[in-house]
Symmetry: C2
Subunit: 361 residues, 2 copies
Amino acid sequence: MGSALTATRRVVLFTEDDPLVLACGRRLAPVEVAYETHGPLAQDRSNAVLVCHALTGDAHAVAPDGWWREHVGPGLAIDTERFHVITPNLLGGCAGTTGPSSTDPRTGRPYGLDFPPLTVGDLVAVHLRLLDHLGIDRLHAAVGGSLGGMQVLELLLEHPRRLARALLVATTARLTAQNVALSAVARAAILADPAFGAGRPTRDPDVGMGVARRLGHVTYLSEQGLEARFGEHRRAAAPDPDARAWLATRHPVERYLDRQAAAFVARFDPWSYLYLSRLMDDLDPFGARPRVVSPQVQCTVLSFSSDWRFGPDHARRLAAALRAGGGRVRRELVLDSDHGHDAFLFDVPGYARELADALDA
Amino acid sequence: MGSALTATRRVVLFTEDDPLVLACGRRLAPVEVAYETHGPLAQDRSNAVLVCHALTGDAHAVAPDGWWREHVGPGLAIDTERFHVITPNLLGGCAGTTGPSSTDPRTGRPYGLDFPPLTVGDLVAVHLRLLDHLGIDRLHAAVGGSLGGMQVLELLLEHPRRLARALLVATTARLTAQNVALSAVARAAILADPAFGAGRPTRDPDVGMGVARRLGHVTYLSEQGLEARFGEHRRAAAPDPDARAWLATRHPVERYLDRQAAAFVARFDPWSYLYLSRLMDDLDPFGARPRVVSPQVQCTVLSFSSDWRFGPDHARRLAAALRAGGGRVRRELVLDSDHGHDAFLFDVPGYARELADALDA
């Protein structure tokens, strides 16, 4: 999180006297938010762009070393020479904003599972309070991929007055049963780790987190992408005669997943994983009733051809639901990529142009 | 395993004096095999059909209650009124045939990870010894889906004189990197379970096995199939205010996976899971060198449209490799189904006819 080139700031936005009232009915305070801003804010405060991050992101998105360095920075699609780009860490995260690994003021220990359940609406309520704190009444645009796109969707549906443009990338309005099932397997791996114990582990349940991350990572990549990188290795002529060595044999893709898991476990919190994963399962803004969608917000819906988590089918259903509600979908496009779900992070051909056009529209 | 209607027989096929010599170089004895036979054996012993099972199968395949009851039984595609059907449990399994949960004669305790590593060739060597024991020189056909198909492929490539027909269903000659990665995640979940310990658990690592089975099961079903069954549930308006209850919330697909995992853990052995999963990763008969495939064996290659484990692409590559080696692929067909990989177990439209035709060809 952060870098030598930038400073992630923190601000307390909710206090005991003015707590955050959550969708579940519980109150949360204090709520501190870690965020960065980059680029000049116009006199009329009309050029602010909110970037919402996905499950494992943080407040440091900007080039040269942030998680969205391909697209956020000077001269990039989300141009910090033109826009005042705001990148908060989300509620429930573990990168500076209050979450389940924060200290519970009542006990002086981490909340763990005493932290309240969250919804995407709760995440967005904190974003709005941050915008108030920064004096931003209306965003030029809100942008996000995956869980970030779900936050943009919530802004669009519940607070359309607060944004002029919504960029919804590699995201969905509702998880499929397969999405829910894969997330459930990852959570089961974390909860199965005895180090997790009753929800207040003595140490991080690294092993369970490692399993969860391996699975998550496989689902973020495409079959063709994995095959291109790791498919060409040769099998051994005969297995190692020792079963422990044989089972420990690492095909190239396994070594890759081992590295990914180790790096992830070192930087991410298992409680945040559980909370943010579960709240995505609950998302279904169009399910309960027909939704009116403001025609005042210009919507752009982007997906990637090889994304099998929130791919083109999800994007098509999302765009159709927005249109059915009266929303204005200016652009709906499937970008060709073999990067799978992770494509939204990368410099896929045509992608930067689409982001830039959406911000200029 | 077994049923009130049938008796699974057992026979010791390798002894200390005549051990099974494995691909890894180690010797294994005793090797006992659990198997069933159904249907009359012709005077000339020409009507024997070997059915090879997949990862979690056993020796009891036949209707009305066996794992392949849709297709093996009187009047079914693999007709026990016409054919002498032989269904062994495979080496390394946990349903009567010697495997890692069998007693190690040197210690009087289960082998666990002291059991030797296996290859598909080792599994087939035991099948051939069983055929010798039964006096079957040449099979009318060998049939198998998934890992069962890999055993049929090994028979075809290494022992073509022993069979006249090879039915290769929902299978592959080589796992993709994604296949390997998903299997690696499942193994990691089992190995992560502290009950697994150093490979000789005090109890079964049920929790890790449950995680592995949940993942496996998701990959055996199609996205559309899961959505059709479990997609229509409604999300809660607000989450339960208690995080433990909220995280314990079960969407219908999660309840389904919980049931699948519990049933699986009760009947299957984690060591067998590790061994059989790993040996599939190592399969690559066409990788090392060009292979000559006997034109004497009639090959049928079937796959299912929604199978994303060993689907139509795998079948196409397999059929192409067989033809390139001079093999005779009489039929290569993708059957339409939304059952995913598990379709090979079910009564998919057109499937029974294809199996029956392949046996009559």
